[in-house]
């Protein structure tokens, strides 16, 4: 019988299992294969902070959600079409995400009394008719994997580790994906352990063959390539994009990047990535703590490098005194804050955008600095590149906000041509004649950058208030007023170099949605739906949080209502209200999860009384 293939525009699939089940791995493989065959993708890995939480428990569930489609996608999908649940805990945690009549594939081997107890099920959901509104496919994935791999000579424990690839084989058959990319990856990854590579490939093929042989699914599906802007693409996560953005800044400026960093979830991958790029002139330093990390980066900036530090909220808290020093000494520095849910340790692996007020205001005294935010995984590249540009142009620390959702999520990235990247110009002051450390460029108010090693420009800088121009220690009260004003004016000047603020939708109307950071995808998707319906909603997504764009005041005036959706308890809204005296309304969620486009669309419609 020939395969019955139905074509779809978009699909959302989720793999869920124990944190040791390898769900992130197979999810990534499905995402990469979908991207390579030309779909647009959006992914959402969701996992616990513990490396291996107790097996079979609700706390230990790790999920990987993937959205792929034949058009320009912006989210990892609101609801799932297909859910793979490797055990009862994974089923219980994620079933609410599965659409009615969605495909539910479960590994029946793991639905024993003990598994059910761990997942706090009173009765077996596979038998009590509670799953009737879904298309349930009970498959003994563990048993079939053991059967498929019995000739490999591996022990049962090793064989059971391959069951994730059996489930991937099922999904590949169901969505008509080619196996060869994953096979290549396995062969490369386990080049030194060919037996393991072979076992995983057997499991993958086993899952695929099982569907073919049993005709378990009457229909399979296909999603045609998306019509994306022509170019060369790759799949990229936010943290990798951040790392590449920094390397690009090093190459384009002709200066070395120095990264001082201390491991912290969810920012560590940036340190891992950059540590590999020694041949690109990237120096990395794993410091003894968050404070040493930023201090070493400021030291490197003083010595003429592009100083960078990467962290998450709790780390930024430790770094604040040093950020103040970089403001006072007017040295360039990039601080990447991969935000996570808090306060304190909070939810290290869950996303939130709740460091905005901290980034803008969280320091002692009057200490302004530019704050910019990335809006999607691949946009982390542009955001951090721009952070470097601002830092060196204005001689200031810049905080670049990303978040856990962007850091771990992936999407196709249209690879830029190196020669098309904007240049980053750095001119050290070398001429000793007439040199003063706090002499400024009148256009930007940036001070001259003279570095150790250059004869004749020897100077001392530090945290004590300094005299304007000479930089000598000064306790003079009038001078302090002058310097405070200069530090403020310099940062305000950054805004005069921004491009025009883009408005999605009409320039005038009923409702203006103002947002920032990682919520872009879901808000944009909700906006597309509203605009299709002809609703009077427009959207501005801010790259620049501080200073805000000069043209934003005029844009706001053209709307009757302003809504600020944020994954926090209301932060950008405070800045907007303060700056523009507008009665903006908030829409807030702090569940460690991104917005769904559905809940946003409903809110927009409610606001305009639709």
């Amino acid at each position: 019988m020939s395969k019955n293939v139905q074509t779809l525009d978009e699909v959302t699939v989720m793999f869920a299992g124990d944190s040791g089940d390898g769900m992130q791995l197979v999810g990534t493989e499905m995402a990469n294969t979908s991207a390579i065959v030309g779909n647009d993708i959006g992914t959402f890995p969701d996992f616990p902070a513990e490396i291996r939480a107790p097996q079979g428990t609700l706390a230990g569930v790790s999920g990987y959600q993937l959205h792929f489609g034949n058009y320009d996608l912006h989210t990892p999908g609101d609801e799932c079409d297909t859910l793979v649940a490797m055990n009862p805990a994974a089923l219980k945690t994620n079933l609410k995400k599965l659409k009615s009549n969605g495909i539910l594939i479960v590994d029946t081997a793991n639905f024993q009394a003990r598994d059910l107890l761990l997942a706090k099920y009173a009765s077996n959901p596979l038998e009590d008719y509670s799953l009737e509104k879904y298309q349930l496919f009970p498959v003994n994935i563990t048993g079939l994997t053991r059967e498929a791999l019995k000739e490999t000579g591996l022990d049962t424990k090793s064989i059971d580790k391959c069951k994730n690839f059996f489930s991937l084989g099922i999904i590949f058959w169901l969505y008509n994906r080619p196996l060869n990319y994953t096979i290549n990856i396995l062969e490369t990854k386990f080049a030194k352990k060919p037996q393991i590579a072979k076992a995983n490939i057997l499991a993958l093929k086993g899952g695929y063959a099982y569907c073919e042989a049993t005709e378990a699914f009457r229909v399979s599906f296909d999603v045609k390539p998306a019509k994306l802007t022509p170019g060369t693409y790759r799949s990229i996560t936010g943290n990798t994009a951040t790392a590449l953005g920094l390397v690009a800044a090093a190459v384009k400026s002709g200066k070395e990047v120095f990264l001082g960093s201390y491991p912290i979830t969810p920012a560590s991958e940036i340190l891992h990535e950059l540590s590999k790029f020694k041949n690109y002139g990237v120096k990395t330093f794993q410091a003894e703590d968050e404070i040493a990390a930023i201090c070493s980066a400021i030291g490197a900036s003083f010595a003429g490098k592009i100083g960078v530090t990467t962290t998450s909220g709790p780390g930024l808290a430790l770094k604040t005194e040093a950020v103040g020093l970089a403001i006072a000494t007017e040295l360039p520095l990039v601080v990447v804050d991969v935000q996570r849910a808090g306060p304190s340790t909070g939810l290290p692996t869950k996303t939130e955008q709740s460091d905005l007020l901290f980034a803008v205001y969280g320091r002692n005294a009057d200490s302004p600095l530019p704050v910019i935010a990335a809006s999607s995984p691949s946009d982390c590249f542009n955001a951090v590149y721009e952070a470097v540009q601002i830092a060196v142009k204005f001689m200031t620390p810049v905080i670049c906000l990303t978040d856990g959702y962007l850091a771990n999520g992936s999407e196709p990235w249209k690879i830029p041509k190196v020669e098309e990247l904007k240049p980053i110009e750095i001119n050290f002051r070398t001429e000793p004649e007439g040199f003063f450390p706090y002499q400024r460029n009148p256009e930007t108010l940036a001070r001259d950058w003279a570095i150790p090693g250059n004869p004749g420009t020897e100077h001392r800088i530090g945290g004590i208030e300094r005299e304007n121009i000479t930089g000598n220690i000064s306790y003079d009260s009038d001078n302090h007023q002058v310097m405070t004003n200069l530090r403020f004016e310099k940062i305000e000047k950054v805004a005069s170099f921004y491009p025009k603020t883009e408005i999605f939708g009409k320039e005038k109307g009923e409702l203006l949605v103002i947002s920032w950071g990682g919520t872009y995808g879901s808000i944009h998707t909700a906006m597309e739906k509203c605009l299709k319906k002809g609703l009077s909603v427009s959207h501005v997504h801010l790259r620049y949080i501080n200073p805000l764009p000069n043209d934003l005041a005029g844009i706001i005036k053209n709307f009757r209502q302003v809504l600020v959706p944020e994954l926090n308890n209301g932060q950008l809204i405070k800045v907007i209200r303060d700056k523009y005296l507008v009665d903006a309304k908030g829409f807030n969620k702090v569940k460690g999860l991104p917005f769904t486009s559905g809940e946003l669309e409903a809110k927009f419609i409610e606001m305009i009384g639709g």
Binding site: R234, F258, A287, E288, I415, P452, H459
Partner: protein, 341 residues
């Protein structure tokens, strides 16, 4: 380059135009003067020298040297310094710090600096008191010390800075006293010539809040009785008339007389600052913990260990040799890519 610029540098060339603002009579003046004097002797240039400091009286040091200088934040000078050194290994990087700065708020950075061993010189001005905050006990104040924040006497055991440095495997450990300027210069010179992190504890008198703390080690009449001047390859002799020495009784050091006929120079411990083994250096650092012993000054230990920045540069060079100088476009296109037409 003009003939004028070729003139050899002098102490004056290393003096900045800023007024020095330490209290009159502060021990810091003597240290500053010796450092300014030693810079040209050591062949250092103004442009390649960077002084880094944290917070405290001692940390004003960089402002008074006509070199590059960075007065940073409390306790963190080692972290800034390692960033500077890693960024440009050709620079001569010096840290000026105090007992509160290095051992209290900056204790963590201090030990990690010693362990990593970048080629950075550390001058720790130990006055056993908080000066700039006006007289609280410090991590090196002695037990029982009465200060503003310990009116009933400090109930804390002090750190022994040389012992702490050695515990973190410092490759160079030394001690000097502010008023013994000749000896101080020789120790600074040895530190400067050491390749690796050189730690120098300098006993420094705070004339306002802890005056006289080191009098036994500075006054002509008492210093020879109370100090053990370490010299490599020489037996450990001290005393006004070089009449006492230190010998080992089993594994325990002991003060012996050289005049009572029971012991001679041959019985004394011979100092070996280059010993790879830490035992002797350890023994020396702990002598100052015991009132029965003289306080050792001079170079305790000076061994060769790979420097942080050398290994960093070596890794970068070998990465370039192995992979070639990075091609950014290739890096962007790494992994699976696909074309959209």
């Amino acid at each position: 380059m003009s003939a004028v610029e070729n003139k050899p540098l002098t102490k004056k060339d290393f003096e900045s135009d800023q007024d020095v603002r330490w209290c009159p009579g502060c021990g810091d003046y003597a240290i500053l003067s010796q450092v300014q004097k030693m810079m040209p002797v050591l062949g250092n240039t103004r442009e390649n020298t960077v002084f880094v400091s944290g917070i405290g009286c001692s940390s004003r040091f960089p402002y008074y040297l006509n070199t590059y200088g960075f007065h940073t934040i409390h306790g963190r000078a080692p972290a800034f310094a390692i960033g500077i050194k890693a960024a440009n290994p050709n620079l001569d990087v010096w840290i000026a710090t105090g007992d509160g700065d290095a051992l209290s708020i900056g204790g963590n950075h201090f030990i990690h600096l010693m362990r990593r061993n970048p080629n950075i010189k550390v001058l720790l001005f130990n006055n056993r008191i908080y000066g700039l905050t006006k007289g609280q006990y410090s991590p090196t104040s002695e037990h029982g010390k009465v200060t503003k924040s310990s009116p009933f006497g400090s109930i804390e055991e002090p750190f022994n800075p040389t012992s702490l440095a050695l515990g973190a495997n410092a490759s160079f450990v030394a001690r000097a006293v502010d008023r013994d300027t000749k000896h101080l210069s020789s120790v600074i010179e040895a530190a400067a010539k050491h390749k690796g992190t050189a730690f120098v504890e300098i006993y420094q008198n705070c004339i306002i809040f802890n005056d006289g703390a080191f009098t036994p080690y500075t006054e002509k009449e008492t210093k020879l009785e109370n100090c053990l001047y370490l010299e490599h390859g020489k037996p450990m002799v001290f005393g006004q008339n070089s009449d006492k020495g230190i010998k080992l009784d089993g594994t325990v050091p002991k003060v012996v007389s050289l005049t009572d006929g029971k012991n001679s120079l041959e019985d004394l411990i011979v100092h070996d600052q280059f010993s790879e083994d830490q035992t002797l250096a350890n023994l020396i650092t702990h002598l100052s913990d015991n009132k029965d012993f003289p306080v050792p000054v001079g170079v305790f230990r000076s061994i060769s260990r790979p420097c942080y920045e050398d290994q960093l540069v070596e890794q970068m060079e070998s990465a370039k040799a192995l992979k070639g100088t990075g091609d950014l476009q290739k890096l962007f296109n790494q992994g699976d890519t696909w074309e959209v037409k």
